[in-house]
Symmetry: D2
Subunit: 468 residues, 4 copies
């Protein structure tokens, strides 16, 4: 429709914006104005898609800067609101409503209109993904861009409200298209082939996704569940176990539901709560399928533990506190196995060991490193914070949901990836259904982390032995 050579040209940006981002109607006419023709929205979408990354940035900056709130209008109404204080309530309410209306950015209307055309919602989700990328890469972090992002986020929150989402159970009978997507999106424990994915939707497994009317066939957030006898302490038993692939489920062997992977698929929906609600819906679904089921828990990775540990070891070395993190006995083991001298050399050997994942082939090291790595990991999860909340993003997610930090599991993910990320340790965040809402509030408002005795015990060992 557009000659490709010209659409991205500089001056056309302004033209397109002027044409498509129509002026806000007056307050009086706000319900009397017919929507602009659909072609407006389509033109905007087509133009934006034709732009290169840097051009998009420029375009969005213009949009957010030149088509936002009319500050003059807003301040006039603010003044008027002050004038009405003491007047009758009807007048106050009226002015408040006008003021609220005047605070609407002009581009908000455009976003709403775009949401109504075919493919519009998906377009806005992807546009927001761009905004997030620009912000996170610090290319652009203007207050106007933040305003645009937050306006768009609040619109997306309405449209992706839980009441409008559809829970779908994914099975081997689901359309191939959706199963292929789920295979691709699975970032936590990658899917290698048809048998892998068949396993994850087969007996003793459940796979659920939220989909949305505006993006049919597109799973927004995917939750993989294993149905087990006890709360699983090992991921290989879940994703690499094919014995039961054609078995019938024996309901008597199903006592626990293990959430072993949850993936969001749309970068542009960052900050729009979906995973949390998906877990809650799935719990309800499972309770109705297995009324006797009482144990719900994640089996979660601990991304970042290894690099945090490397950092901590480096820091100790630099500060000459090489011997603090492990007990004397533990250091002795390291020295023995690695044939190094005490102090810095042993510490350096330990760093190398952890860096190379080789220690996993030595039963002796596996055994001797366990207490130290477990308590360090417990501290990393429980004690390391960012703005007062858990530094580890997976922990933060489950704690926000109201889960309890329940059990650290040694040798839980012995895949190269698992060793490299977290020395093979995984953690169960357990959902005690009676407690999740109080836990969630305590965490979000008071930054209080609910943890089990095992975790608290490891943390206190760490505190005793280390002076981090």
């Amino acid at each position: 429709m557009y000659p490709c050579t010209s659409i991205a040209e500089h001056n056309s940006m302004e033209e397109i914006l002027k044409k498509t981002v129509v002026t806000l109607p007056t307050y009086e006419m706000r319900d009397k104005s017919p929507p602009p023709p659909e072609s407006n929205s389509l033109e905007f979408m087509l133009f934006y898609k034709s732009l290169e990354k840097e051009q998009r940035l420029e375009f969005l900056e213009k949009l957010s800067h030149d088509f936002g709130v009319d500050h003059r209008w807003a301040s006039d109404l603010a003044a008027k609101l002050l004038d009405t204080q003491g007047r009758d309530v009807a007048t106050i309410l009226q002015v408040e409503d006008r003021l609220r209306y005047s605070l609407t950015p002009r581009y908000r209307q455009l976003l709403t209109h775009i949401s109504k055309v075919q493919g519009g919602v998906k377009f806005l989700v992807d546009l927001r993904a761009d905004l997030i990328e620009f912000a996170s890469s610090k290319i652009s972090d203007s207050p106007h861009m933040r305003d645009l992002n937050s306006t768009l986020k609040s619109l997306l929150s309405e449209w992706f409200s839980v009441g409008l989402l559809r829970l779908e159970r994914i099975t081997w009978q689901s359309p191939c298209e959706i199963l292929q997507k789920i295979s691709q999106y699975e970032a936590v424990h990658p899917v290698r082939n048809w048998t892998d994915i068949k396993r994850r939707v087969g007996p003793y497994r459940r796979c659920y996704a939220f989909t949305h009317a505006s993006m049919p066939g597109e799973p927004l957030v995917v939750l993989h569940v294993a149905l087990t006898e006890d709360i699983a302490n090992n991921i290989q038993g879940i994703v690499r176990e094919f014995a039961t692939l054609d078995a019938d489920e024996d309901v008597n062997k199903i006592n626990a539901a293990i959430f072993y992977s949850i993936s969001s698929t749309q970068a542009g929906l960052q900050g729009v709560e979906l995973g949390n609600y998906l877990i809650k819906r799935v719990v309800r679904e499972l309770q109705s399928e297995f009324p006797h089921m009482a144990q719900f828990s994640s089996l979660s990775p601990i991304p970042g533990f290894s690099s945090w540990l490397q950092g901590a070891l480096g820091q100790h070395k630099k500060e000459g506190r090489a011997t603090e993190l492990l007990s004397e006995q533990e250091w002795r083991e390291v020295e023995d196995v690695t044939g190094t001298a005490p102090g810095a050399p042993a510490l350096e050997a330990l760093r190398r060991l952890i860096g190379t994942s080789e220690w996993i082939h030595s039963d002796r090291l596996i055994h001797s490193l366990e207490p130290a790595l477990m308590r360090l990991c417990a501290w990393y999860l429980y004690g390391e914070k960012r703005r007062g909340y858990a530094l580890n993003p997976v922990a933060n997610f489950h704690l926000q949901n109201g889960a309890t930090m329940w059990r650290l599991n040694w040798q839980a993910d012995t895949s190269p990836r698992g060793i490299a990320n977290s020395c093979g340790i995984m953690v169960n965040y357990r959902y005690f259904l009676q407690e999740t809402s109080t836990n969630s509030a305590a965490y979000m408002q008071n930054k209080f982390i609910k943890a089990s005795e095992q975790v608290l015990g490891l943390v206190s060992q760490f505190q005793k032995s280390s002076k981090l």
Copy 2:
């Protein structure tokens, strides 16, 4: 769950409200606060449903009055905004955002949370139906209630945005549940039995509905279409014609699409644009099924014409202008047929005639009344206004959509209902697809009605002959 005797008691209203309408988090904590437990929303819903009509009114008044905007906070921030004028834009944007947040009524959050629980959206749609009923019956028309209504309407507008609606074609293969509902909802030309409804979804007919993810199986707005050779001028040929019930459609006989009935089913979605969008979507659908199709038109009833005419006749009589509405020749015919004296007696006879629908059995009357009733009706549709827009609601709907007032049809609905409502006259509002958006804007902004020569001719005859 609640003992019925106590829940509706006076003091429990306040308790329930205090408990369920939680305080707005501070601006800083607005993204940090976990949603209140679902049970809050469920309790509110259950309580409300248990109330009688008058109790509901009382309850909503309390809600809107005591849990709205915090005026003090808003005015403080308005003052702050005035202070920041001249400061850097980041500061201004920040204060604007805080001000916007402070203008959020406290109950808005509750409404959002309710929308997320099962059946929540439907609950809110029904609650708004109550609000509208209270407002229209003038029982309650406080500014707070208007604010609540408008807050709820804007939320519903987001949730029922077109991008989230699903177009469904209803056929004889559709679930019985949905067909029964469509039969019940059809208010324009009532459905009498299975054959009637089978006809309306059979060959040479189309029936479309919008449904929504949050209310599965519930058609929100239903459009009935007849596929005809020419633009139909008669409804009986559409709803009472069963000859083609088992025929195969002959695509060569399909040149026009006649929208002969459109019904909204949810009182609580008043003001949320659905019908307009449904017509547009259906036009697209039909164009892709019948690429050669070029004529789109409604065949619409004219509710209110007869009673308006009765009123006008009464008024003329009272004002002693008995002879104005008809020409001399026309009055003579009436006098002849009814055996009455000229002037008031003839006018009275005419009123009676129209009131009883008996004239329809006299070919002579049918013939002699046609010119007068047609020009009166044209005036009623084109000239009678309410706040500048067409008084007749059906006309107003199609004119807003950008249709042209195209043709009045004599003897178009000879059912008792049709005679009683509009002396058997129906009107085509025609959709010229190239023009609808300009027509719509001209009507909504400048109150300009696009009409055909036939209609304008009748109007001008009326203006010449009558001095209404």
Copy 3:
């Protein structure tokens, strides 16, 4: 395609047959012959459908007479088979196979080919319905027509084999088309309106049908089930009870499944076992839905009882044995109520009473007639036979399936129809799942009827009191 005037002409019949009923290939070429073109089958179908009833009869007679088995060929091979006696087994098997092949009627191939074209199977089902009608009306009962009928029946039996049928549960979500058909087909307890049919697929009810790949959307046999606390003794409580229409089912109140209506919809599938298999499949279905359910029973009408009783009374009167059927006490009651003299007048009065259904409005008559009508009815069901099997067709059906004649219920169907058909009596045939196959064999092979003590008691009372 055919000019209607000429197709049905006499000589064209022979032409059509000669053209479409191709010669059987030789035994050697039987797998080498390509099927005739589809147009052959279509021509035959079109021609047949264009014929009037009497022409169809003539046409089928020609088909069956002139295009059947080649008797000469068959007898030649029969002779050859006799010659091979004593020869090696391979030779014998070969001749047997040739003989079997020679006994194939030539029209059998045509029927098979028709079954392969679109709508072909349905065509053959309807053609067989014609055959059955001709046979039953004795218009034509030639041995050739019987052969054609039996050939077609055996083909239909293969195609409608249970393994090829699909069990569908019909609900209020099923396509309207199928629910309308089910309403129409329901002959036992007619469906009056939407609410009626909604009731029969709603809570505490199940409706199942067999459908077949070759006739999509067409239920072949329909079974209505009520889920009750005890074995129901009254039909009005099932089909006229709307209290639970929107209730949720309480699984604790479901102890029994009552088959209260079973209807075959295709006259042409007479003799092809479907109902029997449907009941068995449904029992399995219900057992898996309600594992604790242990009672399965019909609640069946007794068509023909009233007219049998009228006949019996007439016979007694004629034979001057007026007083035999009732006890002295019972006659006295009749005389009292009707004010008639003993003997023939009383008997005549009784006949009239039963004929008019008026007795149902007299509590006294209801009470006094009960013992006599119950034991007469028991005898009718248990003792009256046709070729050794139960005369009553419903009884015969359930007994063939292996059910037990379990309980007669007084005042079980008080609808006018129920009173007129069977004096309001209904019967439960109960399915004891462990016994059905032995019961069925005992009935079919030895004509033995399994009945409960209640039924046997009534029969023995009848035998004592009456000398029918």
Copy 4:
């Protein structure tokens, strides 16, 4: 259910057979006998599945030998039929019917009953696969086993009659289960991964399958179609072309439908016509989707050509006719390229070349071998016969369907498999819809092969140059 050790024991075979293969009812009782309990069929199935291959053979031999036709009964009735000659036709028909009945093998009933239980039809399909395997491996080729096979085949033919099959179009939206199966079954051009299969159901491709009510989710025969501008002469362009994977189809570029792969999936349905009917149904489907489409053709492999050629070369060498197959000029080229002496050495070199597929890397050889290999291949397809029909099974299939041997394509399949099987040559069998039924009859009855001028030209070149 069965102790595994004992079920396969010798004497239990006879017991199982005696128990489950019940005696045929007498002619008079044939409609009066209730079916044996389902458990009979289930027991037979379970037992058979528990057997090892050799035990199955023994078991089936017993079944076919001891539970077949009652020869004495049949010969008695044959004698009776001879006696009735000259009697009235009713008597003759009666005896014929009895004779026909007596020729039913006793096991036929069992097979019918098995078909009615869940999974029964699939069991019989697999059982017949065993029978076919036994027969083809010459382990067992008794006349009784042949009878059993032919009885079972005729039953399967009824059950898998075309009217009972469902055509399904397979797309990327189809259940993953079915797509995985189709990937596995594709034997002609193997599917390597998700992208491969996505390609084969994507734009410009169609994939159709027949499924059957008794084996849900199981495609029985699968046809892959490419939609092209011209009749394709190369398979890599079809299965390795991904450029259009996400394109929209341009209907103007679709003039031809190329059947490039057809696979039967059930060994046990050998001889039951499915592929033929699938092609016909798909042609109808495509004609209704693309009314202007006029070219239908296969692009078929030529399995067996290379080995036939090897054999022919070997034969020539042995017979000292080394120089016959190629022209002098052609031999010279071979000698040049391979550096061999004329005569036997050159022929040996040629054999080796063809055996190793190396020649494909030499443009010169590709060029110089083309005429010879093309005419040899044309002869192989057209001239080589088995019992008078084309030796090549793919050719035989399409010729039976009425296709024309239309075009040989050089370098049409350059995959290793294609070179190894047929020197890279493929052939189009073209379907001229007006001719297929006459072609089919001419081929099947008179063994006449319809071929194009190109093919006939090559054949005649071969005949001139070679003295095979």
